[in-house]
C-alpha cells in the first residue's frame, strides 16, 4: 500500500521569500506523484505531476518539485512566493495505471506581506 506524509501542517512565509513544502511517500512499487492546490473555498486543482522521465517537474506559476527515489521524497519549491500563492497544498501518490490516489494531510501556505 502507498502512503504520503506531509511533514508541515502550516508554513508561514513572507512575500517574495522562497518556500519548500515537504512530502515523503512510501510504496513497494513504482508510483506517480502529484501536487494539488486548493485555493480558499474552492476544489483541488492539479499543480504538477511526476510520471516518468525528468525528475524535476515544473508548473506554469513558478512552482517546481523534484522526485528523489532514494529519499522517497517529492518536495515542492518556489524561489519567490506571491500573495496569490496562499492556499493549501496536497501531495498525492498513486500506483501506475491505478483507479485511486492517496492524498497527504495537506500543508497550509500563508503569505505575509
Amino acid at each position: 500500500a502507498q502512503s504520503v506524509t506531509q511533514l508541515d501542517s502550516q508554513v508561514p512565509v513572507f512575500e517574495e521569500a522562497p518556500v519548500e513544502l515537504r512530502c515523503n511517500y512510501s510504496s513497494s512499487v513504482s508510483v506517480y506523484l502529484f501536487w494539488y492546490v486548493q485555493y480558499p473555498n474552492q476544489g483541488l486543482q492539479l499543480l504538477l505531476k511526476y510520471l516518468s522521465g525528468s525528475t524535476l517537474v515544473k508548473s506554469i506559476n513558478g512552482f517546481e518539485a523534484e522526485f528523489n527515489k532514494s529519499q522517497t521524497s517529492f518536495h515542492l519549491r518556489k524561489p519567490s512566493v506571491h500573495i496569490s500563492d496562499t492556499a493549501e497544498y496536497f501531495c498525492a501518490v498513486s500506483k501506475m495505471v491505478a483507479s485511486k490516489i492517496i492524498f497527504g494531510s495537506g500543508t497550509r501556505l500563508s503569505i505575509r506581506p
Binding site: 502529484f34 494539488y36 483541488l44 492539479l46 496536497f90
Partner: protein, 113 residues
C-alpha cells in the same frame, strides 16, 4: 463545458435525517470519486466508480451509499446523518484507467447538528 459540478453547495441536517449529494460531469469521464475533507486529515476516499453501473468502497465508506445509474452522475447518499459526517465533500472524475489527473468539483459543505 462546466467540468465537475456539485449540488448543493451548503446543507445543514439534523441527526437522523437523510440526504443525497449530486455530482455531475460533462467530460465523458469513466471514473468518479467521492471524498470527504476534514481538518488535518487531507482527503479521504469514501466511494468510487470505474464506470456506469459500478461502485466500489474507498477508505471510509461506512454510513454512505452511492449510485452511478448514468455515466455523467455520481450520487452520494446519507441514510441517517450523524454529527461525525459534518465535513466538506468533494467529487472528482478522471477520464479512464490510463489517465492520471483527477478533476475536482467545488465542494459541498455539510453540517449535521
Amino acid at each position: 463545458n462546466a467540468g465537475v459540478t456539485q449540488t448543493p453547495k451548503f446543507r445543514v441536517l439534523k441527526t437522523g435525517q437523510s440526504m443525497t449529494l449530486l455530482c455531475a460531469q460533462d467530460m465523458n469521464h469513466e471514473y468518479m470519486y467521492w471524498y470527504r475533507q476534514d481538518p488535518g486529515m487531507g482527503l479521504r476516499l469514501i466511494h468510487y466508480s470505474v464506470g456506469e453501473g459500478t461502485t466500489a468502497k474507498g477508505e471510509v465508506p461506512d454510513g454512505y451509499n452511492v449510485s452511478r445509474l448514468k455515466k455523467q452522475n455520481f450520487l452520494l447518499g446519507l441514510e441517517s446523518a450523524a454529527p461525525s459526517q459534518t465535513s466538506v465533500y468533494f467529487c472528482a472524475s478522471k477520464k479512464d484507467a490510463s489517465t492520471d489527473t483527477q478533476y475536482f468539483g467545488p465542494g459541498t459543505r455539510l453540517t449535521v447538528l
